[in-house]
Symmetry: C2
Subunit: 225 residues, 2 copies
């Protein structure tokens, strides 16, 4: 088994050009000794500047991306090299983690790393960054035989049943939204074969990711001893 | 069901008195515009100052505590008021979350909150702080009929079986270590009735917590619809 895990439309980006003179952004950048163009958009600090931002309710949550990535990358399944992780961002960039790569557990270190790779866009190494539409990422890079999207709008399915379907696929891909509110865009939805909900209420991305990976791990017998 | 969840010997404390003049601590406090006595000990920034610290390998990881708390407090079981959360610290203090209390998802906000409550030690409210030995916390405050400790040194048990045992108890208590390396102290071990491992290899506290709470949730049927 190799599980392709995509955190889709993730709320991870550098402060966009039109916002770099906003007082909240300028003050935050100054406090950190950086240029506004070099820092991550973060609702915790730039809330007042984000009011008129397009799709603003889905953006500026690097903390959410961090937690979701930790919930995947600290699992036995990932540590065994059985998960390929992509972070597709709302800004049209995709980050791909080299297999088994550990990300910084401290958020401040993670933020620094993300700022660096989003600025430099390395074409290789532990975190690779490339530009691709969601369709290109899924159809060309991942090229799965089945894409499972997790959403409260999906059909109700027990996580165990989802995991069985994932394990039964030759090259499965699971999409979890990397944003705090709202739903998958039309473009993302078009790449999904089966839209599934594992819970009645909306859950944080890191909870969904942790549960899906755990159930896939159980279904694939990796850790059964 | 009411699950008592204790993050034990957690790596969460203000910078201890003997370290407040260390260059790494002074520089970090200055950067943050705070006194050294007012900031959390954090290995990401105070590593060089922590070399000679007693039990240093178990301390200074507020990020780990944050992730473990998020992995519990974002679950349906917790949101339904079925989990009582305690953070028992290496420094002998215990934090108790009021039922259903949400903690800040951004680490920097969480750090600020923890610094505030560890300084002020509120006796009530959303986060209560009190001084208690591990034995006092477990025997007096929680007063469980069975204490399950999670550790790689424990007997191997499937998480599902652990969850069944937890749900079968009248007032169950689960202890997960809130530290990055090492094992439960003698004092903590003495409060544990059953020491269990759910995985062969050591796992991060947030992964163990997420899996145990999820399995208890399934075993208690809270979300089965």
């Amino acid at each position: 088994l190799l599980l392709n895990f995509v955190l889709a439309e993730s709320a991870l980006e550098l402060v966009p050009e039109g916002m770099r003179r906003s007082p909240a952004v300028v003050a935050d950048a100054k406090r950190r000794g950086k240029e506004p163009s070099m820092i991550l958009l973060d609702r915790s600090f730039h809330h007042s500047a984000m009011e008129r931002l397009e799709e603003g309710e889905k953006r500026g949550r690097p903390d959410l991306v961090h937690q979701a990535l930790l919930s995947v990358t600290c699992t036995p399944l990932y540590l065994d090299g059985k998960v390929r992780v992509f972070v597709q961002t709302c800004a049209g960039l995709t980050l791909e983690l080299e297999k088994r790569t550990r990300i910084p557990k401290n958020y401040i270190r993670f933020r620094g790393l993300m700022e660096k790779v989003l600025m430099e866009r390395p074409g290789g190494g532990l975190v690779k960054v490339f530009s691709a539409s969601m369709k290109e990422l899924v159809r060309r890079t991942v090229s799965p035989d089945e894409v499972f999207g997790l959403s409260v709008r999906g059909e109700r399915m027990k996580p165990e049943a989802l995991a069985s379907a994932v394990v039964a696929a030759r090259n499965p891909c699971v999409l979890v939204g990397g944003f705090p509110h709202g739903h998958f865009s039309k473009e993302t939805s078009a790449t999904i074969d089966r839209l599934i909900r594992i819970e009645e209420r909306p859950l944080e991305a890191h909870v969904v990711a942790a549960r899906v990976v755990y159930e896939v791990e159980k279904a694939s017998d990796v850790t059964n001893d």
